[in-house]
Amino acid sequence: MKEAVSKYVKSGDLLFISGAQHGAPAAAIAEIIRQKIGHLAVITCLTNTNYLIGEGLVDRLITGYSLLNESRSYGLQKARAANKFPAIEESSHFAIALMLYAGYIGVPFMPTRSLLGSDMAKYNAENIKAIECPFTHTRVGLVRAVVPDIGILHVQRADKDGNAQKWGTLGVDLEGINASKKVIVTAEEIVDSDVIRRDPNRTLISSFRVNAVVEQPFGSYPGHLAGCYNDGPGALMPVLRQADYETNVRESIYGVNDWDEYLENLKKKNGADFLDKLRLKDPVYSEPVASGYETLGGSEK
């Protein structure tokens, strides 16, 4: 993780954070903060950016929905006090998805019927415009493409080459990670490539687009990840008190070498089975589907 982040996340980068309320790359974000990689622009949807902002690393936040109420977040207060509060480029959920989609498909903008007449269009006019449609001659909104310098995706499984598979809700993962110039994949488990190739519809991004892959169990803690674990305590709670904020930052970031050490400390503090208890004991499995044929095997067969 250390190498992947130091090699591919650079000061001044436009960073895409995947995992809209599901499977955010918490361990990778902690490593970015640990390495104090700053002056970032961040585009994300429904992930917790309060620690990145609180530690003064974000210059610009491209958002459709974020906790921006400073009276409810010590992280925001800390950034404000340090004069490190990010510039906000505000739109909507769909706009964020469309900006990333435009980046993904390689066009400079996407038309939309959203945002027209809203004050987001007024205050974020650099990125939201309206034109007359050349075909229908009606008014249509436009959002500017976003091509992140670096995208980080956490998944349930990937192979060592970076073929990455995620299931459950995907938020803006597909659009955002495929729009990104460089890609870091973190995975609960590195599996044999054969596991990937027996179920290739699940692959969100394939190895030739991935720069680094890191195995990181509980890489989304305290968030949930389908098929893996449920939310940990406090997953949905904003951090209001300075003491809680600083404790979290110390315990999960600055006071440990890496995420695994943090997880070990959680177990020491809360019981050896603390993390294991987050794994639900009654998983239901999907029906296997025929996805290949022995006689049509690849070169390894």
Binding site: Y65, M120, K269
Partner: protein, 271 residues
């Protein structure tokens, strides 16, 4: 609200029940967390068993599920008809396949313009809400958008401080179409802790007051920041039926309370 009348239900019960009644069988409903989700699930359990519930992160469900504490949980994902992404869900909406949207709001004005962004000047806000999320997208694309919010003079304003989701702008005909919004979309009903509103000539008109919990027309007017239009056939809001209350409490509130307790037991250690 005056408490002289004793009732076996609360204002929020009335809001959820009234909102659920807006959902028709076979509707495709976009529901956010909180009262909208409670209303959608009550409808699914009762008056609209064939409705489809769409949740922002990519969840499409035609079956029941336990009330989630957030839009995306293992429970709201599990056994869905379809799990995709936010892009897909919003595309469904923009293409006209989600006919009913449910939104909360921080502020509303007489023409149904909503503010989910800030109190005061955007550049120097007195208070910040999280912003549009899918709100603007839903209001821009659904045939019917139903707004649920607590009513008081700070929220019911002559003019909202920021237009996050345009309603009917200044109320003149054709404004939504002029600016490029999809024809025949926009807010159609507003449900508050005091009454129910519909739109006539693009302006909010009070249709009923929750007199069953002691709300009066005077109270409603006192909590409205403009010269409120009142329907000529103003009614008392139909109170929740025994059956609606029973289903709401057994199928939704109980689960919600149990989850809240569970969260409480998992006292935050490091996080």
């Amino acid at each position: 609200m005056t408490q002289e009348i004793k009732s076996n239900y609360s204002a929020s019960d009335q809001m959820v029940v009234s909102a659920a009644r807006q959902i028709r069988d076979n509707d495709v409903v976009y529901a956010g967390v909180g009262l909208p989700m409670q209303a959608a699930l009550l409808a699914k359990n009762h008056n609209a068993p064939n409705c489809t519930i769409v949740i922002e992160n990519g969840i499409v469900r035609s079956n029941l599920f336990p009330i989630p504490v957030a839009t995306d949980t293992l429970g709201s994902q599990a056994f869905a008809d379809q799990l995709s992404g936010l892009f897909h869900v919003m595309c469904l909406g923009q293409a006209g396949h989600i006919n009913t949207g449910f939104l909360g709001a921080g502020q509303i004005d007489r023409f149904g313009n909503l503010n989910d962004t800030c109190v005061g000047d955007y550049r120097k806000p007195i208070h910040r809400w999280p912003g549009s999320g899918g709100g603007d997208d839903i209001m821009s694309s659904c045939a019917r958008t139903i707004v649920i919010l607590e009513q008081d003079r700070r929220r019911f304003l002559e003019k909202v401080d920021f237009v996050t989701c345009p309603g009917y702008f200044d109320g003149q005909p054709g404004r939504r179409e002029e600016i490029g919004l999809v024809p025949n979309t926009g807010p159609t009903a507003v449900i508050t802790n005091l009454g129910i509103y519909e739109f006539e000539n693009r302006e909010m008109v009070l249709k009923s007051v929750h007199s069953g919990i002691g709300v009066t027309l005077e109270k409603v007017k006192a909590e409205t920041g403009w010269d409120l239009k009142v329907s000529l056939d103003l009614k008392a809001t139909e109170p929740p039926t025994e059956e609606e209350l029973r289903i709401f409490r057994e199928k939704i509130e109980k689960v919600r309370a149990a989850r809240a307790r569970l969260k409480g037991e998992m006292a935050p250690p490091g996080q």
